[in-house]
Symmetry: C2
């Protein structure tokens, strides 16, 4: 079976994740690109998932801890691509509209410029959504 955890372990693979969180994170990690909540649901039917809420609850937690990012312009989710998932400093995403792959971008000057712009208007930024839609290097030369 494909089940990732079982027996007395009662399902919590990586760092303090519950069973459902592990399953959802696993699905996103196996994927090449972003997945919608409902695609994840379909992939986890065999693991006992039946309802959207099971996915959304796990996603909420994973997004909260930074292990997963939500792509607003796609209504989809990706596993954070930072190896140990320790520094989730991502500020932007480059989303290829041909192959679907997503690159994470961290850039201090960009953050700085955003803070500056906001500050000028007295706007206090809680979260910045920066998503670049276009073609990745591989796809644009094809």
């Amino acid at each position: 079976m494909t089940r990732e955890t079982h027996s007395h372990d009662h399902g919590r693979a990586p760092a303090g994740l519950t069973k459902n969180q592990s399953l959802v994170f696993g699905a996103l990690s196996r994927a090449e690109g972003p997945l919608s909540a409902y695609t994840i649901l379909d992939q986890l039917r065999d693991d006992g998932f039946r309802a959207p809420l099971q996915v959304y609850r796990a996603l909420d937690k994973l997004v909260e801890t930074g292990m997963v990012h939500r792509l607003e312009s796609l209504n989809a989710f990706v596993a954070c691509s930072h190896p140990g998932c320790d520094s989730h400093e991502t500020i932007a995403f480059a989303i290829c509209e041909t192959c679907g792959k997503v690159a994470e971008i961290s850039d201090e000057p960009l953050e700085e410029r955003i803070r500056e712009l906001a500050g000028k208007d007295g706007f206090s930024v809680k979260r910045a959504v920066v998503e670049l839609r276009g073609l990745c290097a591989a796809c644009s030369q094809a």
Copy 2:
């Protein structure tokens, strides 16, 4: 009646807009902040709107011409705030999570930095989604 156009004019108020486009643009212009497609639909029931598609079709065109912007992180739409709607150079939106108002931001250095970042990866940007979520000046001092 509130109808904006009638008689032999056959409905095309501002610049080459069709009747439905005018109605949708009117609804967005009257609003203080962004509206969802379904909210627009509800507001236009009295003008004969019955189905979502009537709204989405008009929105498609309005967004295409830049008179209306789509806010990806909100699944909603706003009328462009540039007076004559001639230069739609907006690159970013500042969305207040308290009062719901949206400010448009144009900033050449920001655009430049984004182009630079993308170029470094060989990524070719077709569209940049930049939405700042937070508190506007008025709401943050309250």
